[in-house]
């Protein structure tokens, strides 16, 4: 029997995040200490990545489950009321941007 694996994403172990009064997410790797203010559409993707957690929830004790690119894309498309194919490229570009900043790590999900 073969088990199919696919590209997935997990939060890097050493990140912190907060929300502005206006609800925008700000993420930061603890090593670099350079906050990134996410855009409104980036916020939607971030909410999917953190699985509904808030900054008052402990990422160390209870980290979010890694998600596949497909799962993230489908959930983001649902949030915007669009077809997954319409958001896939933007979602992937955003995930890669977070990866480049050390906020996300690429994993393989079953």
């Amino acid at each position: 029997m073969t088990v199919e694996t696919t590209e997935g994403w997990a939060l890097a172990p050493d990140i912190a995040w907060a929300r502005t009064a206006g609800g925008q997410a700000v993420v930061m790797t603890l090593e670099a200490g350079q906050p990134l203010l996410l855009s409104a559409s980036g916020d939607v993707i971030w909410d999917v990545l953190v699985g509904g957690r808030t900054p008052d929830d402990d990422l160390v004790a209870d980290p979010p489950t890694p998600l596949s690119t497909t799962t993230i894309t489908v959930q983001v498309a649902e949030a915007f009321g669009l077809d997954p194919a319409d958001v896939a490229a933007d979602v992937h570009a955003f995930l890669e941007m977070l990866e480049a900043h050390g906020v996300l790590v690429r994993v393989r999900t079953a």
Partner: protein, 295 residues
């Protein structure tokens, strides 16, 4: 430690909300110090559980309390991760209790090597607070903080030096706690040798409290400054050595404080004028004291 401070800060503040920067700073500092196995307690502000302060109370910096023997290592570590020394311990308050550092993105942190008014000694105070410490999640990360009881006690002890916001904070704690919890807090204040600060902050009876400490905290609560405060500190000093140290520390001009007062970078002429004024005031005070003694 070899003290180094710039007394300067960036001209353009970062665009992020101050609250966000402070919260992220708590998380990053806890991570860096935890990784280095250095014990540090985050005090006051966002490092308190809900209810300690009135709603919507804002905080402007991170306050850290460290064991005095770790203070130099903490500052060196923060310095190596982007926090620039702004004021050294000797340039800080009259207690020389905290050094201030600035991070371009994350703002100010005050590193306390002691907490004025708390504990028979800085070492004992830290060890007692640490022995009962807990964690609070800030920006998604666990941050070491004092126990809920000690969080409130720290706010009250600090209020003895901060009569404006402090009075409001003390009133909030007193009104939000059941009588038995308030009594337990008072008992804890006395157990931690914080009776003088407790009395000054709360206005409650000062039975058995060190009168010199009481005089000093009362002066700070009244916002005494300059020669008036020096006089009180002279009277509060227990030994000739303490008085000698007081004079030695009073004479040098505190450059960061002067800069804050002037609202611009300090020039050599400013330093000269300030130094001359200080020496003149001290000399006048000493002269009047000597004349009174001769009479």
């Amino acid at each position: 430690m070899g003290e180094r401070a710039t007394g300067q800060r960036p001209a353009a503040p970062p665009s992020l909300d101050l609250e966000i920067r402070v919260r992220l700073a708590h998380a990053r500092i806890a991570h860096l110090l935890g990784r280095a196995d250095i014990r540090a307690l985050h005090l006051k502000g966002y490092a308190t559980e809900p209810g300690v302060y009135p709603d919507h109370r804002r905080s402007s910096d991170v306050d850290l309390l460290v064991h005095p023997t770790d203070a130099a290592a903490v500052i060196a570590l923060l310095d190596s991760h982007g926090w620039e020394p702004v004021a050294t311990f000797s340039e800080g308050s009259i207690f020389q209790h905290a050094a201030t550092l600035w991070h371009d993105q994350l703002g100010y942190v005050d590193v306390h090597r002691l907490f004025p008014g708390l504990g028979p000694s800085p070492e004992a105070a830290f060890d007692t607070l640490w022995s009962e410490h807990t964690h609070l999640v800030i920006a998604g990360r666990p941050v070491p903080v004092p126990s809920p009881c000690h969080q409130r006690l720290v706010v009250i002890v600090h209020a003895a030096r901060d009569p404006y916001r402090g009075a409001h904070d003390v009133r909030h704690i007193r009104e939000s706690l059941p009588a038995e919890s308030w009594a337990a807090l008072r008992e804890e204040a006395h157990r931690l040798d914080a009776g003088a600060a407790w009395h000054v902050a709360t206005g409650e009876a000062a039975d058995g409290v060190d009168s010199r400490q009481l005089t000093l905290f009362a002066a700070l609560h009244e916002s005494q400054s300059g020669l008036e405060l020096f006089r009180t500190r002279w009277q509060s000093a227990a030994t000739a050595r303490e008085r000698a140290v007081l004079v030695a520390r009073t004479i040098p001009v505190n450059r960061p404080h002067l800069q804050m007062r002037l609202g611009r970078p300090v020039t050599r002429a400013d330093l000269w004028r300030e130094q001359r004024a200080r020496l003149g005031a001290l000399a006048g005070w000493a002269w009047r004291k000597a004349v009174r003694r001769d009479r």
